[in-house]
Symmetry: none
Subunit: 211 residues, 4 copies
DNA sequence: GATGAATGAGTTTTCATTCAT
DNA sequence: CATGAATGAAAACTCATTCAT
């Protein structure tokens, strides 16, 4: 009985894995708003109507991807921290460099709060918040290590600003050709900034508050 | 003849005004992605097919709204600067407080780069960039007034981060009920931060780089 | 499993049948360019959006009708040939008389090359060409039987002219009332020629080349 | 008074000329069914709604083009006849060669009876028939010159078949790339026939009836 | 007569979602 | 659970045509 249940569950997980993988692949070349359940199903061995047995909306799929990506980024940060010396610059470099290694997460973060979360069920959303709780915890802990003198409040403020910044900087450093052209029409010297550098610089200033 | 032309032009402007107004009203209660030209037309005395004589896509309408809002915010900042004393705190208060008076602009900024600009024609986009050029210019000038010692590069960096921050902070301080509930499920003490305060704090730290 | 697949396939065929039948009925009273998928769906128990699961454009439906009609005509010709004596006149009578029994095919042929084929996918078109290959083969074979001395080239030329003639003769012998009136305004003696007679006469002359 | 009327009329003719010219230009690159009054007006200095003062439908414009082209072809045939020796082959060469010099007429003839005439007013159509009456007359006269022994009926039959043939042969010798590809998929040796040669051959056989 | 504005009707196409099997 | 079929709703877009000026 129990064994069967486990079997079922693992089947469910397998299906979800397949759906997630398909969605991830699409997201590499398509925009969030252009991805539909139909499209996702097509990239899958599962038929469209069956997808509804696992996910209610495409946003719930994206929420699962977000979850993994947040935690994966967290792991990268921890790994890197273990290998790097302490120090403000080191911290900023760590964050900026690892963030740049997760382009999908960055892309997702720009629609995380304004779109994905708005289209999910409360249950799914709560589960997501629970799942990424370690991210918040770990990030705070790491900050405490790097900046032992900073107050809890300052650290939480900083984290809030870090997540905010990433969304905004990403959106302004991922312009399409047309956008760049239009900018250069007005200011011929315009060059699209680099995400990692821009984030590093911002973090460097913001961490001044934590020393 | 010329008089007629002027008449016609003013009709065009009137029509665009009406369309913009309808779009603005819808945007107060609806999300960007749920607004369609069909919906906008419905809130208008103009029929849908006629809308196409004034705007090709909804994004071109939003771009016009963005333009006005950016410039309107700029005016507010200038007005306020004239009345306030100099100083870093004063600047940050000015920006944060006036921004909070333009909630629609804030909401628009969160989709400005990732959606609106992507769906416009290059021509429309270039015209927009030209139109809001004074915004960039004025913002830089104001910063030079407040922070006379800051280099041009630092000022431009700061402006870039300001715009980035607004997008991110707004998205994280405009959660719907469901999002707040989910947060509180994990952390019962969670309170959604206030946009203006969060922005003020961030700016206060970032301006340290300009002194 | 297999049984189900067969069931499904037959459903597809059934649906296509229904769509084809509806299109055929419309084509009896309407012109090709006035028929739309919307109109076809209306004459069906199937909803418009579901039609797209079976046909991409109305032209693909017409191509299917064309296919059947060509092959049906071919069968009629073969049948009649079996019952008739040999001879040039007999052949011409056979072709003209059987063609007249397929008015829908004649009507379709007048838009076959200039419209229907132009709006189909290459795949669909290739499938069609394969499907009506027997028509070409059979027509050549019949000609070889009736005109054993004619070279292969002459026979192919003749077939090409036969198909050409049908298109043109049909268009000039299927005038609407208005067209006839206009003709008679200029030449009061004008009588619209009869398709079968006109075709017979033309074929009789053209077959002189095959003896 | 009269002078004014003449002025007006010539203005009307000028406008119609401009409209016709625009339509002709479009027809060089576009298909009949894709051309709209909107499109024609765009290629003109006349506004769309004003076009209705000169033509009711696009087909009436096409009818005017047809008229000119028929008469122009007739002139070419007469010219050439004056320069060529008599004889059956000479006649066929004349017709085929001059026809090939009027590709627009050929293209128009393929939709002349099945589309253009169907969408015109009776008045316009009657006027057209009157206008091209000389074409019929001249063509008969030329045939009588070349084939003095042929009966009036045979000559009229021949003319009927000539016009029929042109429509059909043109449609089968003006395939688009896709159509050719599909043909070659079934018969790799397929080569699209040449219009002028095909017409010449057909005429050569058909004229045997006139000797 | 000429024009721009406006409209309504039509068409294609796409999708989320439901349902019977 | 899985599936294909089916549907309804919506969105984008185009055009012929009318009308007031």
């Amino acid at each position: 009985m129990k064994c069967q249940k486990v079997k079922k569950e693992s089947l469910v997980v397998n299906r979800q894995q397949e759906i997630i993988r398909a969605c991830e692949e699409l997201y590499e070349t398509m925009e969030y708003e252009d991805i539909s359940i139909k499209e996702i199903a097509k990239s899958t061995s599962i038929c469209r109507s069956n997808i509804y047995n696992y996910y209610q909306t495409k946003d719930e799929i994206f929420l699962d991807i977000l979850e993994r990506d947040y935690l994966s980024w967290m792991e990268d940060i921890k790994d890197r921290m273990a290998r790097e010396e302490p120090g403000r610059e080191s911290y900023c470099r760590n964050i900026a460099a690892t963030a740049a290694l997760h382009p999908r997460l960055l892309k997702l973060m720009s629609v995380h709060y304004i779109a994905i979360e708005k289209n999910c069920s409360l249950e799914k959303l709560t589960a997501f918040k629970h799942a990424i709780h370690p991210f918040q915890e770990t990030m705070e802990e790491i900050l405490r290590t790097y900046f032992p003198k900073a107050s809890r409040e300052k650290i939480q403020n900083f984290l809030f600003l870090l997540l905010s910044l990433i969304q905004g900087i990403y959106s302004m450093t991922s312009l399409c050709e047309k956008q760049v052209k239009a900018m250069q029409e007005v200011d011929p010297d315009y060059r699209m900034p680099d995400f990692a550098s821009a984030l590093y610089q911002a973090l460097y200033i913001l961490t001044s508050d934590l020393i």
